[in-house]
Amino acid sequence: MILSGHDLSIGYSDRLVGQHLDVALTTGEALALLGPNGGGKTTLLKTLLGLIAPKAGEVQLGGRTLASYPSRERARLIAYVPQSHIATFAFTVETIVLMGRTAHGGLFSQPTAADRAVSARVLDRFGIGHLRERPYTMISGGERQLVLLARALAQEPQFIVLDEPTASLDFGNQGKVMREIRALAAAGHGVLFTTHDPNHALRAADRVFLLRDGVRIAEGKTEAVLVREQLEALYGAPVETVMDGGGGRKAFLPG
């Protein structure tokens, strides 16, 4: 299945953020969206999720225009992992994950035993089954990010879209999220994520999409596109490449 944007103009009622954007995500691959602050990453993300309508062009999902999907049907195909936040009410972790099952039930339905089984499975899958009864407001930022990932997986979607999944996480939890993104793509999901760190794209993404001032700078295989010159042009700042002597893996240092 393919989620794609064709000649998209994106933005809000009062502001045009980007123009002439073509982007495609296939199930089974991870695509990273890189670019400076205010460059349109989040706007493009939300347009592909169907949360804001494109100002021109069209988002397609499985060959159909995304706007033609009823919200329940869309939610069974695309899941959204927002930046973790503090919730207003102290729902338990299990309730938050069960909310991922909403699109699988009717308008007046409550979660079923089958829904609870799915939520227990995804909680265990991320190693946070022990948090089940804890209030979502009382767990750490890293745990919250994993809970939101678990909720997305509970939707049993084809595509998972993550908005800066590593922001505000410690080094260890960043690694954990990178591994989960690779695992989700390997399991056949199409994964799209934004990040501020090119090294996270190197670690987890098959392809990258570079966005600056609403314009596509480059797109392609991660290893080919992420080179020093490209990143310096993207961020308008000097970048240094470091290479691992033995394995030939590379990483970037800012400044």
Binding site: F89, A90, E94, T102, T137
Partner: protein, 337 residues
């Protein structure tokens, strides 16, 4: 999760039962628990009760309707407050946030000003509440914004202020000897004139609105997440918001039409309910209804018994509610953060 909610629900139910016993026992003609049981059993079995006719009349004609109305109004305000707090993702919101109370107040004072009958006044109050919220909703929806909730709340505040000015104007023009006291008494809330005939127009809308909210309980959980998250989870937030606002306004308007403006219940009872049974609406709505009913019944019992004259309900709820609200603000409660 259901296990941990059971004690909280039992407490909420216990509060209502205790309030019922208290309400019948206290008053100018106290009714003992045994007499009440006698009369109830007699009614159910069809026998003549073994108590004086006056006791029977107090239970069925005088105190009974007032007790039922207090429970219904309290439950309605608490349920509406619960719904609005979830919808606006803000635990400091009350049922009149979208102008239901001020619209109903303007309708009622207009009815009194034109010397209409009791039922016409109640009808005007009911319509005033519905029209005010509908106007707020339509004006709020025409403003294009990334935060529709905030626009709605601000529109409610502005329209509420305008309606308040209207109430002030009518009071200014009213006859200060006959009409003004009636308006003031009504605006402060009272159940002193409630009879059997008032119960049907109160019960119908309260039952319908509460059932709609109960049916949407899981969707309401999801809608207390940020707007975009709820939509990404497959919830059509636009139409559902209209349904929830309509249901909550229906129960608020019906209760204001019967009892006048009674503040604080819709603000503080949902908090207590949330501490008892947690934030899941499947349990929160019933718990808030039980507690709200019990709470207003206690307040109304105080209103008719502590002084030689009736004390307006809105004054008593404010006396109880203000310290509670300040306690909430100091952050002692951990149910929200």
């Amino acid at each position: 999760m259901n296990r941990s909610a059971a004690p909280g629900m039992a407490i909420a139910g216990g509060v209502l039962v205790a309030a019922l016993l208290l309400a019948f026992a206290v008053g100018q003609y106290p009714v003992s628990f045994g007499d009440m049981l006698d009369v109830l059993v007699a009614k159910l079995t069809g026998h003549a009760p073994d108590v004086p006719a006056a006791v029977e009349s107090v239970i069925w004609q005088v105190r009974g309707p007032r007790v039922v109305a207090a429970v219904l109004v309290g439950a309605a305000l608490a349920v509406a407050g619960t719904a609005f707090q979830g919808l606006f993702r803000n635990p400091l919101v009350s049922p009149d946030i979208l102008g239901a109370s001020s619209g109903a107040a303007l309708g009622a004072v207009l009815g009194i000003y034109f010397s209409l009958g009791v039922f016409a006044i109640q009808g005007l109050a009911f319509i005033g509440g519905l029209v005010a919220v509908a106007a707020v909703y339509m004006i709020g929806s025409t403003v294009r914004s990334r935060d529709p909730i905030l626009v709605l709340v601000l529109t409610g505040v502005v329209i509420g202020a305008l309606l308040g000015a209207g109430v002030g104007l009518v009071k200014y023009l009213a006859d200060p000897y006959n009409q003004l006291p009636a308006m003031t008494f009504w605006l402060l809330g009272s159940l002193s004139a409630t009879g059997v005939a008032d119960l049907v127009p109160l019960f119908g809308p309260v039952a319908v609105g509460t059932l709609v909210l109960l049916a949407l309980r899981w969707r309401m959980n999801v809608m207390s997440l940020p707007e975009e998250e709820a939509r990404a989870l497959g919830v059509p937030t636009g139409p559902l918001r209209i349904a929830i606002v309509a249901a909550a306004t229906l129960v608020t308007s019906a209760s204001v039409a019967t009892a006048g403006v009674i503040g604080w219940i819709g603000l503080i009872v949902p908090h207590i309910a949330r501490t008892l049974v947690g934030p899941d609406f499947a349990r929160l709505i019933p718990a808030a209804a039980l507690l709200g009913g019990g709470f207003l019944l206690v307040i109304d019992t105080l209103a008719r018994s502590v002084a030689a004259i009736e004390i307006p309900l809105g004054i008593l709820t404010a006396v109880v509610g203000t310290p509670f609200f300040i306690w909430l603000l100091t952050g002692v409660s951990k149910t929200w953060s």
